[in-house]
């Protein structure tokens, strides 16, 4: 199939990427809003469009466990989930990264219970932020598709060998129809290449041990193995950049660690991740048209967090409003806010920085909410941010 423009939801776009990748194993369990990824893909399996062994497991815990077994065996492996499903996987997420298995996961982000809520926010993505996975955020359907194809390459890169999660905002990107440029099947397969596993279990003549304990006090290698994972994250930054560039050369859509939107000459900036960055771009355009020097930093790679690049791009600004789609939960601010604020620490003239929490449980974020955030930011840069750095957008009193 040659390149074609399809009208798909984000979930269907992920399933389209999977069809083209033709993974060895997909193990998944349905959960809203990720379910239709699995549904669309199982249709491809049923129609014989892929050679994938589809495991319809009995829980998300088993989904990730089967992914670990399949990846260690030597397969190219992927899965999809959301919220509580991801929470159930957490134990095994750490094992997957600890074993350095290049599993890829589509995370249809959703609010974590309780109260039960099936709509989008980033609390689940933040639940896995310390799990040793690379996490790439997508703004829309096309980005989700493009990110997933790149994720396979990043995960399997010899300098990285870490599992990768690609997020798409639940209900917004997952269920919203958009035009998708689906690349030619052969071109996609050529881009991702043949998977060559490192130490596959199926090599029965060269037996390897996966997941042995490391407990001999003083002689264990636990600490060293964790240090090696940090090194892999460090090495992942240039790899993500290089693969994003290569993807652009081949398919015409380049990706960096972040997208700087109208930051040139800006005095104020919003910092966001995911679907609502689209709304933010409209707001920035409107404000620019009104002569206000406002820009947007849309972060793509949340793990590894590109500190040096973020510091560089934000350092000349007067004020920054970081918009988090996850609650601070007793911390100084949302998870993205903490990273950005940390990236700016030590600058001679650090910009004023405040935090806004938005969109929890799918609460709408309208352009006027972001305009309000910018207004508050402008005041804060003049009067100082005060004691309370955290504000809430579109929250009922």
């Amino acid at each position: 199939m040659t390149q074609q423009t399809l009208f798909l939801t984000g979930n269907e776009a992920i399933a389209e990427a999977w069809r083209q990748i033709n993974p060895d194993v997909v193990a998944a369990y349905p959960i809203t809003p990720s379910t239709t990824i699995m549904e669309s893909f199982t249709q491809s399996v049923a129609d014989g469009l892929v050679d994938t062994e589809m495991i319809c497991v009995e829980s998300e815990h088993s989904a990730m466990s089967a992914c670990v077994g399949a990846a260690a065996a030597g397969g190219r492996v992927m899965t999809a989930t959301s919220a509580n499903g991801l929470a159930l996987m957490v134990e095994v997420l750490y094992i997957a990264s600890g074993m350095r298995l290049p599993i890829t996961l589509a995370l249809a982000t959703r609010a974590l219970s309780a109260p039960l809520n099936i709509h989008g926010d980033h609390s689940d993505a933040m639940l896995m932020r310390d799990a040793g996975w690379i996490i790439l955020f997508s703004e829309g359907v096309q980005e989700a598709y493009d990110n997933f194809l790149q994720a396979v390459r990043i995960a399997e890169h010899p300098d990285v060998r870490l599992p990768v999660a690609v997020t798409l905002d639940g209900m917004q990107t997952t269920h919203q129809l958009e035009n998708l440029i689906s690349e030619d099947d052969e071109a996609v397969r050529d881009f991702i290449g043949e998977f060559k596993p490192y130490y596959p279990l199926v090599d029965v003549d060269n037996p390897v041990t996966y997941g042995a304990c490391s407990v001999s006090f003083g002689e264990d290698f636990y600490f060293e193995s964790k240090r090696q994972q940090e090194e892999a994250f460090k090495q992942a930054l240039p790899v993500i950049e290089a693969i994003g560039k290569e993807y652009g050369n081949r398919f015409g859509r380049s990706y960096e660690l972040y997208e700087a939107y109208q930051l040139q000459g800006a005095e104020y900036a919003l910092v966001m991740m995911g679907a609502n960055a689209g709304t933010a771009k409209d707001v920035v355009d409107e404000l620019r048209a009104e002569g206000k020097k406002v820009g947007l930093l849309k972060l793509r790679s949340f793990r590894p967090f590109p500190f040096a690049a973020v510091t560089e791009v934000l350092k000349g600004l007067r004020g920054i409003a970081v918009c988090d789609r996850a609650a601070p939960r007793g911390s100084s601010g949302g998870p993205l806010f903490q990273e950005i604020r940390s990236a700016l620490y030590g600058l001679d003239q650090a910009p004023t920085i405040i935090n806004f929490i938005y969109g929890l449980g799918g609460r709408q974020l309208m352009p006027e909410h972001l305009r309000g955030a910018i207004e508050k930011l402008q005041v804060a840069t003049m009067t100082g941010p005060g004691d309370d750095l955290v504000g809430y957008l579109n929250l009922r009193n």
């Binding site: 060895d24 194993v25 193990a27 050679d51 994938t52 062994e53 495991i55 319809c56 497991v57 009995e58 829980s59 815990h61 088993s62 989904a63 466990s65 089967a66 992914c67 670990v68 077994g69 399949a70 990846a71 260690a72 065996a73 030597g74 397969g75 492996v77 134990e91 095994v92 094992i95 279990l201 199926v202 090599d203 029965v204 003549d205 060269n206 037996p207 390897v208 041990t209 996966y210 997941g211 042995a212 304990c213 490391s214 407990v215 001999s216 264990d220 290698f221």
Partner: protein, 338 residues
């Protein structure tokens, strides 16, 4: 590690490659140097297993005694590919291995011509309790894997706490025989029958004290062409508080008292593979085990009676199942003389 493992064994039913066990320890799948306790039943079961079949094999091991004692980075006792994922997900991990091999074969990416078998191993903690959901799922999905449970009747890796396999009356770290409550007050779960209820091709219960029977069952499990479940009683001298040299004898009393019946369920047909000529009293099984010491004390006769009644009830139920499913060949009626 040797590049290849010679697993040529006598394939005759019910026999083991004893030569390998006795003289070729350098070729054993689990290399010496592991840290299992003296007298542990697990290694006995594993030796019998690997001497009974000679397939190339990938092992998925649940967290437990065998897992923690057979590998400690950068060392390993395993001479076959082996993976430990976590406690409750051994079956799911093995499912993934099975699925990956199927896909890789389909795509021409798996060049090994011999069939590679998948073996999942867990103790009763990882099998009866925390891993039951994943086990049930893997069996229902029909993965081609053999699940072997070494049932030592408690959470021995964490120091001997009760599990759902711990027998009634047993004193454990979490059900100690106290002044008011004399040990575990619940009967044990019958996991083998639960697995048989999955209607998989092969389910069996075995004991390393009767190794020809165990070897036969291991071969049947690996050759059944689908999921198979094997439950083996595994003595734990440390937490059963038994003599390290008497392990197999004590295990055999479980068989002879019909406390641990040896049977198999093959495509719905139940067959008891060993019927003791004389069914011994359950006290034979309870004796010589420190964990039942209080049960045999004066004043606790009601416990022995209760245990005996439960053993009898389960044994009779098994015989009834065997008769009902056609496991016992009916004697041909003697023809009346003309």
């Amino acid at each position: 590690m040797p590049a290849t493992i010679d697993r040529t064994s006598d394939k005759k039913e019910g026999t083991l490659n004893l030569r390998k066990i006795a003289f070729e320890q350098d070729k054993e799948v689990i290399a010496p140097g592991h840290k299992l306790c003296p007298g542990c039943g697990i290694t006995v079961i594993m030796r019998q297993l690997f001497a009974a079949v000679d397939y190339p094999m990938i092992v998925a091991n649940a967290t437990g005694c065998l897992e923690v004692c057979s590998g400690n980075l950068p060392y390993t006792s395993w001479r076959v590919p082996w993976i430990h994922n976590a406690f409750e997900n051994c079956s799911a991990t093995a499912s993934g291995v099975d699925a990956a091999m199927k896909a890789m074969r389909r795509k021409g990416k798996l060049l090994e011509e011999r069939p590679i078998k998948v073996l999942a191993i867990g103790g009763d903690g990882g099998t009866y309790d925390i891993g039951l959901q994943a086990l049930s799922g893997a069996m229902e999905r029909g993965h081609e894997l053999v699940y072997l449970c070494f049932d030592n009747q408690g959470y021995m890796n964490t120091g001997g706490q009760r599990s759902s396999s711990t027998p009634f009356g047993s004193s454990t770290k979490t059900t100690p025989a106290g002044k008011k409550i004399p040990g575990k007050q619940q009967e044990r779960k019958d996991l083998t029958l639960i697995m048989a209820a999955h209607h998989i091709p092969y389910t069996a219960q075995a004991s390393p004290s009767r190794w020809p029977d165990l070897a036969k069952k291991i071969r049947k499990a690996f050759d059944c062409g689908g999921p198979a479940f094997l439950n083996c009683l595994s003595v734990c001298p440390t937490d059963w508080k038994t003599d390290v040299q008497q392990g197999l004898n004590i295990t055999q009393t479980a068989v002879d008292t019909c406390y641990w019946p040896l049977y198999e369920v093959e495509r719905g047909v139940v067959r008891v593979t060993y019927k003791p000529k004389l069914k011994k009293p359950v006290t034979d099984w309870l004796a010589n085990q420190g964990r039942f010491k209080h049960v045999l004390k004066k004043g606790n006769e009601w416990m022995v009676e209760k245990i005996q009644a439960e053993v009898d009830r389960r044994w009779n139920m098994l015989l009834a199942l065997e008769a009902a499913t056609g496991g016992v060949e009916e004697k041909k009626p003697v023809k009346a003389e003309a």
